[in-house]
Amino acid sequence: MIIRGKAHKLGDDINTDDIIAAKYLVSTDPVELGKHCMESIKPDFAKQVSEGDIIVAGKNFGCGSSREHAPLAIKGCGIRAVIAPSFAAIFFRNAINIGLPFLESEDAARINDQDQLEIDLASGVIRNITKDEMYKTQIFPEFLRELVRHGGLLNYIKEKERGQSHA
């Protein structure tokens, strides 16, 4: 799967309250949540995102609460992947579970805001078209990639069950 879009740069330790403030946790609709994505730190963020764009952040992205509304809000505003040197553990599993692709890369720092990027999820290679650079990332273990391929944990469980009942 190839993702193409422009980079939106964010800092270190972007927490789940930054991604989606608690006052919006009275909805579970990704589109509704998406409208308020990053509102506390970048009020116009959702308006600046075009479908297919990519968040490029600093270390410890998604720290704080367990709210799955955070990756849902990111997906809902049109972002298709997140690149950061490291991710907070619960965000990590939530993103995998809902099928939001993300890549761990120290090269995130080399990417500038608005750079045009192309990500090959199968190989984990990021191409920076604007700067004409390539960044290699560590691909996840097969089990986790399978979850993302299935579009999330519950789809994976469902299809596994279906497979077993047909066998």
Binding site: C63, I90, K158
Partner: protein, 408 residues
Amino acid sequence: MDLALGNDITAPLAISEFKKAGFARVFDNKKIALVPDHFAPAKDLKSANQCKALADFAAEQKIKNYFEVGCMGIEHALLPEKGLVGPGDLVIGADSHTCTYGALGSYATGVGSTDLARAFIDGKCWFKVPENIKFVYKGKLKKWVGGKDLILFTIGQIGVDGALYCAMEFGGPVISNLAMDDRFSMSNMAIEAGARAGLIEPDEITLEYVREVARTQGHKDTRTQGRKDTREKKYAGLKSDADAFYKKIYEWDVSALEPQVACPHLPSNVKPVDSLKNVTLDQVVIGSCTNGRISDLRIAARILKGKKVKAGLRLIVIPATQHIYRQAIREGLLEIFVKAGGVVSTPTCGPCLGGHIGILADGESCLATTNRNFIGRMGSVKSFVYLSSPAVAAASAIKGKIAHPDEA
């Protein structure tokens, strides 16, 4: 797993995912706990509907451990008190502060709503096994210094990602002498350093707590609904191996440690209380899953007794569970808070996450015994949240600015 937990924010999403995926029955109606605590008693129509989603699902699935307003409490204070979590248990909770139960020697960790939905289906969860980091605290704590100060100090030292993906293990002579409520405060904030768990080896203090819970619950395991509680036995062998591998070991003599305060806007921005004397406050909150337990209220009441809250400052006290609330009534603590000019709320997470009962206006500052001080966490994105122990919070409410408990 032994228990899967959800609340009024995370469970509605799990319930709709569970149903959308076409599943009809939960795997075990005794191993699921549903606690409407974040926006409950419902703060508005939307949160009322979310709370109702929990109640309806609990009724439909005959979930035993659903706690309606009136027996409800903040989940991480409530579950240990009800004996639903204990030494040696594997617990997942769709709430980041699920790591609180590590204080009992339970591997308890925060997950998301989809994880909870999956647990509803088959009681399973995928895990990435964490590496361990050991924290050894030596010396003797000064007066007014407790578990909250230790964990704030620790996060200040290692940073908000200092234990990323790791399990923190707290030990040493200071921990051996630390009361259970203080241990809960420490394990509770392990997530604030990025950790998956905050573990403390079960000892006599743990065992005494577990016994007391068994007594109040009639010596029945509430999770198995009626069977005799056998978990006391389970705890005996729970020790870290002598040759256990640690990614890192920190060792600190904390004898000189002063009460600690985390400044806006990260829990790692920690300073000793004495360096913050000119911070004036609009609000003080004493409560939350970190510090809303009975010993937290006792220490605050000890300082506030016969004193008045500074004019113009709002003091909000929130006992974490109904049990603690009643205990505080019996001991006269609520009388002390109200007489001092504070207000007392029924159990709720409320202001901690900017839900209700104490939202901050533009430019306001608050000192809270809660666990996070991110931008906009308690309301306005232009407000400021400081984190401390209940002792510092009570003294600061009297002074109207951040103060050492000795000054009150």
